[in-house]
Structures are given as C-alpha cells and as structure tokens.
C-alpha cells in the first residue's frame, strides 16, 4: 500500500462519515414520520425515500448531476449565491454517498421506531409531555439501538459507493478518488496488482463495520 493509497482510504472514510452524519437528522425525522404519522402523500414520500435502492446508481448520479451541475436548478443557486461548487468536487462524493445510503438509514430507523411500544409514548403524554418531549425522551432513546445500526449500515454503503459517485464527482486524483473509484481505474488501466491492496483494505473495513452493526442490533434491549 503506497502513501497515495492510504490517502485514498482515509478520504473515503472521511466522506463516508460526513455523509452519514449529514443524513442522520433528516433520516431520523423521515423515519419517525413514516413510522408514527399518516398524512396525504405519505406513500409517495416513502417511495421517493427508497428510490436510490432500486434505481440504477448511475441513473441516480445523472439526476444529481442534472440538479447540482453548474446549470442545474440547485447547483446554479449554490454557485451564484454562495460560490459553492458541487459537481466534480469532494462535495459531490459526499452528496452521492448521502443519497445512496439514505434509504438504508430510513428503513432501519423506521423499523426501530415501529418497535417502540406506543404505550410508552401514550403514558408519557398522560404524564404531561408534549410531542417533542415524547420524541426526545421516549421514542428516540428506545429506538436508539436500531438507529445506530442504521447509521452503521449507511456508513458501510457509503464506503462502497461507486456508480453515482463516478457520474457526479468523476475520478479526479486527490480530489474525488474513493477506494471504489480507484480500484475501477486501476482495473481500467490494467494495473490489477495496484487494485488488490485497496480491495483488501476496503473489504476489511466494511466487514468490521457491518459486524459492529450486527452486534449492536442483536443485543436485546432489557425490557
């Protein structure tokens, strides 16, 4: 493993962690809304939240490119208003990872909320708690194990993200090169032997991550 390869590994870990942190608040909120509330259009929102799991990743990447590109509706606002460029920068990598791992977080957190007995929440209400307090002191702590497991899954997914990232961030050395993109590029250039150490490291990292997630979600909460 060269120094360059280690830099790629750390970059990938950083963007994956950042993207997971970014989707946590929205993911938890969406998961709770799906688990505990009904409203018109709920089925549509649920479907949209799950889409990145089923749509071909490069198609998702293309959609992101269209929205966040310099001429896209969101990209042009960000560029003109705040001077921030998304596509072909590390921000696009974070964006792609966030979008692709979002459904995993939502799905897992949603299950976690659904498993919380509504009786706890009801009793809390009779004891005078408003909805925010019920969420913060009852629903969230009791669902925390599942939420953490979801975050771990999201992180693992982000570590392995390739298709959408390739389209919206490109494979720019030292700027957007993740482990998966680097392995792909090495294979493309016929440098299979350079790809192998990265492949090994990425498998080890993801294995440890998913194992932790499994352990966390399998510990039964004392009830």
């Amino acid at each position: 493993m060269t120094a360059e390869a280690w830099k790629i590994v750390f970059f990938t870990i950083e963007v994956s962690a950042l993207s997971t942190l970014l989707i946590l608040p929205i993911g938890i909120a969406v998961a709770w809304l799906i688990a505990r509330r009904d409203w018109p259009g709920k089925a549509v929102v649920e479907t949209v939240a799950m889409l990145p799991l089923f749509v071909p990743p490069v198609a998702t990447g293309l959609l992101l490119l269209m929205f966040f590109g310099r001429r896209g509706p969101l990209g042009s606002v960000l560029q003109r208003g705040l001077g921030i460029e998304i596509v072909f920068t590390w921000r696009a990598v974070v964006l792609a990872c966030a979008v692709m791992s979002f459904p995993l977080l939502v799905r897992t957190a949603q299950s976690a909320f659904q498993e919380v007995n509504t009786r706890f929440e009801d009793v809390a209400r009779t004891l005078g708690a408003n909805e925010w307090r019920v969420f913060g002191t009852i629903s969230l702590p009791l669902a925390m194990r599942g939420i953490v497991a979801g975050a771990v899954l999201a992180f693992a997914r982000a570590m392995g993200e390739f298709g959408a990232t390739a389209v919206v961030a490109g494979m720019i050395p030292r700027k957007t090169m993740t482990i998966s993109l680097s392995i792909y590029q090495n294979v493309q250039l016929g440098r299979d032997s350079a790809a192998l150490p990265l492949l090994f490291v990425s498998v080890v990292i993801v294995f440890i991550t998913v194992l932790c997630g499994q352990i966390i979600s399998m510990c039964k909460h004392p009830r």
Partner: protein
C-alpha cells in the same frame, strides 16, 4: 429434371456463401460521426454490414487483447497499435496510417471568458479543465505531452477532470460543469454547444496519427481487408475531410 433441381440448389448455395457479412470495427471515439457515414456508404456499395464499437482507443485495445471479437481496429494513436502488433494480434501487411487531427481548447458556447492561449489554462479563473484520462487515452496523452513540452503541465494537472474518452470531454464542456476542455478539432466541429478558444497548429502541436489494421483473429480477413482499403479510398477520404480530419498521403 434432376439437373434442374441440382443447379437450383447449387445457385442457392453460391448465393448463401456470397451473402452479406457483418464486420466489427473497434474505432476511436473521435471517429464516430465520420465512420458512421462511411459505414453507411460502404453498406450500399458492397453488401457487407459494418458494426462499430466506439470508445477510447486504450479501452478498445485492452478489449482486443482480452479477446473481444473484432475484425478491424482504428486507433487514435500509433502507440496502441504498436502494443497490439507486439503481441502479434495484427494481420501482417494490413496496417496503415490514414489520418491526422488537431488539438483545440474549447469552452461552453455561452462562456464569458476563454483562454487565449494554452498558457492561459494556468490562470485561476479556469478552475476545471476536462480532458480524457491523460495517462492512457490518446487525446489525453497528446494534450499532456504538449503541455509538458510547454512546461505548463504541473500548473495545470491539479485542475484536470479526467473523462473516459474525448466525447466525454466534449459532453463535460457542453454541460458547463467545467470551465474548459481539450478535444480534437473534429470533435469541436460536431457540437453547437461549445466554441473553439484556441487552436493548436500542426507545427506547434503533437504529432497526431490514426492508424487502422485488420486483426489476426478476424474470421473474415478478406472482407475486412476490403473495408480497410475502402477507408483509404477516395470516397472515404472525402468524408473524413468533410468532418475536418487531415487526410495523410
């Protein structure tokens, strides 16, 4: 009666054996539009169909090495063809260099600023420069070697956004997501959404050469050779010239 049936069968067999064949040509992405037109013209004249597989010459060469079935290879640089020749994958005597091209620096059609020379690429206002992978794709190698010769490569290389082939570079510039890009002049002529900022003359620029050859693994070497000769012929040359290629003698 028997002879009549026999001769009928015989002529059907003859017709079957001289029926239309399908040739597979792996060709550099920059040749896309010109070769499609040439292929259509060829299909009218002979009865052979020509199937093209366009892409970066580096990727195509790799596919041929790995055994992808093809009859001809039309590369954007001599190096890729040399590599195949060394591996004994070419049909001897069929290799010839047909075309040359020029490099241009392009910007989106609505760009407010554009480089006036290659040296301008180093300026901070051009933050992203699209270029086909400079390590392997011919146009990327040509551009890199040219910029290295001018001593500009170190200043510019951090701004490079690598694309898969020259048409990917074109698309990136058209989308406006990069500030500028380097493509062949022939590619710039195809698109309305970009404009040429700098043309690198043949004298200053790299020596660009497009060779074609029949592959040894071809199952129809005579027909493939026939097509290769057609590519060097007058009709094809006029089409290449129309698209802006420099046709070499």
């Amino acid at each position: 009666m028997k002879t009549r049936i026999f001769s009928l069968l015989f002529s059907v067999l003859i017709a079957a054996s001289s029926s239309a064949a399908e040739l597979t040509v792996h060709a550099a992405a920059s040749l896309t539009d010109a070769l499609k037109e040439i292929g259509a013209a060829y299909e009218k004249e002979s009865r052979d169909k020509v199937q093209f597989n366009f892409g970066a010459s580096s990727m195509l060469a790799r596919q041929i090495e790995e055994g992808a079935p093809a009859d001809l290879f039309f590369s954007a640089d001599e190096a890729k063809m040399d590599a195949l020749e060394k591996k004994n994958l070419l049909l001897p005597g069929t290799r010839r260099s047909l075309l040359s091209n020029l490099l241009v620096i392009v910007v989106p059609a609505d760009a407010s600023s554009a480089p006036k020379s290659a040296a301008d690429l180093a300026k901070p206002e051009f933050k992203k420069i699209a270029l086909a992978e400079p390590a392997t794709v011919p146009v990327g190698i040509y551009a890199r070697e040219y910029l290295q010769k001018l001593g500009l490569w170190d200043a510019v290389k951090e701004k490079i956004v690598p694309t898969e082939n020259v048409r990917g570079t074109l698309a990136a510039v058209e989308s406006g997501n990069v500030d500028t890009g380097i493509v062949y002049k022939t590619d710039s002529l195809i698109s309305q959404k970009i404009k040429i900022a700098v043309e690198i003359s043949a004298a200053e620029g790299p020596n660009i050469s497009y060779p074609v050859a029949v592959l040894k693994a071809s199952k129809q070497p005579e027909r493939a050779t026939k097509f290769a000769e057609y590519l060097a012929g007058p009709k094809a040359r006029s089409i290449f010239a129309k698209f802006g290629f420099i046709v070499t003698r």
